[in-house]
């Protein structure tokens, strides 16, 4: 609001749109391919959401399928499998928030405390690597380490302790997928925190130390406030994405642990929408997820503003 006045002063004489069109036509032309792809593969599907209110028939298409009103949703909300998937999603989201979220912060602090730049660079290179490994590969690696024929059970069998098959146990599945997520993404997650740490003025530490603040109090009064903005932003994003807990990860492991542990909202759309050709039903589940997610992002952002941070966008 405060900058509006100065902007008005700084703005040059306004050219007519014809002249600007001629001047900027190559710039606009450059944007065309990306915009076309986004319109076809992102905006057209948005209108395809009307299938959630239809009895979609692939032969009739979107234009000629019968209208269902809210029938698909009525059926969805009466479906115990849907509630199971929603329940799993929220539960896994919560477990990941508690167990995953603090780890990149701790790792970044630890790395930041290392004096040797070369060692820091080396560790960063290694912990970033799993981020680029696909879920199929990551889960195969877990299977080879912790599965029934994996290294762990090779060792246990060798010592006559018996078998502990972590990979197909539905009761510990939440912990398993969270540790997979940590293995794959926690290292990459430190990048933002390292950047925030690098932005903290080191003079503050020196001044605090001169005033007699120990390392713990320096961390509490300087480091953590320096990370506050990033932490809040990531929390807002995490809350906004509470209904998205990963997709391929669950798709791949669903057969091993069963649907009652591994079905989340995204896999629900796939298994009860596409795999069964019940497209409208799956689209209804997808629309439900999208709407709730938008509300969550909006709400989380409001919350961030209440706490006095920027959140996703400035107020």
């Amino acid at each position: 609001v405060s900058t509006a006045g100065s902007e008005r002063v700084a703005r040059p004489v306004r050219l007519s749109w014809r002249i600007r069109l001629r001047r900027d036509r190559s710039l606009l032309l450059m944007a065309v391919p990306a915009v076309v792809l986004l319109v076809v593969f992102n905006y057209v599907p948005l209108f395809g959401l009307v299938t959630a209110f239809q009895y979609y028939d692939p032969l009739a298409g979107v234009w000629h399928s019968d209208w269902a009103g809210f029938d698909q949703f009525r059926q969805l909300f009466g479906d115990p499998l849907f509630w199971e998937a929603l329940n799993n999603t929220l539960y896994l989201s919560f477990v990941q928030l508690i167990l995953f979220f603090p780890i990149p912060i701790a790792l970044a602090l630890l790395l930041n405390s290392l004096l040797s730049q070369r060692l820091r660079n080396f560790i960063q290179s290694v912990v970033y690597l799993p981020h680029f490994i696909s879920w199929v590969l990551a889960i195969t690696i877990f299977q080879q380490m912790l599965g029934g024929a994996g290294v762990l059970n090779q060792f246990l069998r060798g010592h006559d302790i018996g078998i502990w098959d972590i990979m197909s146990n539905p009761h510990t599945f939440a912990l398993l997928v969270t540790s997979q997520a940590i293995w794959k993404e926690a290292g990459w997650g430190i990048i933002v925190f390292l950047a925030a740490l690098a932005a903290i003025n080191t003079d503050l530490y020196e001044a605090a130390a001169a005033d007699g603040a120990g390392s713990f109090r320096r961390m509490w009064h300087i480091t953590l406030p320096g990370l506050r903005g990033v932490i809040m932003l990531l929390l807002v994003l995490r809350l906004g994405n509470a209904l998205t807990v990963g997709f391929e990860q669950f798709l791949i492991q669903r057969d091993a642990v069963g649907h009652d542990a591994a079905d989340v909202l995204d896999t629900f759309s796939f298994y009860y929408g596409i795999a069964t050709s019940n497209y409208s039903y799956g689209a209804a589940a997808g629309l439900f997820k999208s709407v709730i997610s938008l509300l969550l992002i909006w709400g989380a952002n409001k919350l961030a503003h209440v706490f006095g941070t920027d959140g996703l966008y400035r107020r």
Binding site: P33, V40, Q117, Y128, F132, S134, T140, I252, I297
Partner: protein
């Protein structure tokens, strides 16, 4: 909303360049900092050592097993931790296997074509939207950013792609994911940063926007271009679900990730009862080493490219990440 991404840039790149030139030495502890305690140092070392081990050891075991003889695998009772009888038998066999060889070529092809297409489209769009006060750039930017928050979801996308005849087609694995708005915004924030004076001077000399992009903007942003190309390439190389969605039954067209999923992930069992899925022709070699070979083949391109790329992550290309 325009500045969704603020990226650490030139300053850090310059700093990183000087660091590289003068060889990083062990930095001195600042005088105000307490001397480290033995217990603290040990705890730090153990933690970091553990973190590294969790990542490196599994990869090591898999690579060693893929190079192991059947005898070594039998002795170990499965996966081999210490090299004990090495052979490249499994690799020769796997690269001679039509399923795996085709899959490798398919993966490489999709990655190469997809990355090239994505880069051209993204670079053009990022530059096209990077000149402030150009006609409509604000509107187009909003159009792009909306797609980061609102999507039709799985089913409508599936219906659009199959409606366009994408079932069993290569392009279904490329076009729907060809544009990443996030990557465009990263590129754009770099391009917006290219010295306005330089561009103005070029314009005075009669250079058009295509010329400016090619001769000024691209050469000054090589690091970010490399990183974004890596992101796209990894995305295509790792693409898995799109295959399941659009060509689940047409196995000769499968890329490597899907072959890995079908034959290794699904074929997993106790040693001896392993159903390798590669047919009886390979019965004489170790199925486990064959499986691990597929795993390693899936990993190798990344391990080749990664060392050249990871210095750019440090050099601050992506550090600023996401900011309001």
């Amino acid at each position: 909303m325009t500045g969704v991404l603020t990226i650490g840039r030139r300053r850090e790149e310059k700093a990183a360049a000087t660091v590289r030139r003068t060889r990083p030495r062990r930095a001195a502890r600042p005088p105000w900092q307490e001397p480290p305690t033995a217990a603290g140092q040990t705890a730090k070392g153990v933690t970091l050592g553990g973190v590294l081990a969790v990542i490196v050891v599994p990869l090591w075991i898999i690579v060693v097993t893929s190079f192991s003889t059947q005898a070594a695998i039998n002795r170990a009772g499965g996966l081999v931790i210490w090299p004990d009888g090495l052979t490249t038998e499994a690799y020769r066999e796997m690269l001679g296997d039509p399923t795996v060889r085709t899959a490798l070529l398919v993966s490489l092809g999709i990655t190469a074509v997809g990355t090239a297409l994505s880069m051209v489209v993204s670079i053009l769009c990022a530059y096209g939207l990077s000149r402030s006060r150009s006609l409509g750039h604000r509107f187009l930017l909003v159009l792009l950013i909306i797609t980061m928050f609102v999507s039709g979801g799985l089913i409508p996308s599936f219906l659009v792609v199959t409606g366009l005849g994408g079932y069993d087609q290569w392009w279904a694995l490329i076009l729907p994911s060809a544009v990443s708005v996030f990557n465009i915004l990263v590129l754009r924030s770099f391009y917006s940063d290219t010295s306005a004076d330089l561009i103005e001077a070029a314009r005075m000399d009669g250079a058009g926007d295509w010329r400016i992009l090619w001769s000024i903007v691209l050469p000054t942003s090589r690091a970010v271009t490399a990183v974004i190309a890596l992101f796209y390439a990894v995305g295509y190389w790792n693409s898995f679900f799109n295959v399941m969605l659009y060509m689940p039954t047409d196995s000769p067209k499968w890329p490597l990730q899907y072959v890995l999923f079908t034959y290794v992930n699904r074929g997993n069992g106790l040693p001896g009862s392993v159903n390798s899925g590669f047919g009886t022709a390979h019965a004489q070699t170790a199925p486990l080493s064959l499986q691990m070979t597929v795993v390693v083949l899936t990993l190798v391109p990344l391990l080749i490219v990664y060392p050249f790329m990871q210095k750019h992550f440090r050099a601050g290309v992506l550090t600023g990440a996401i900011k309001g």
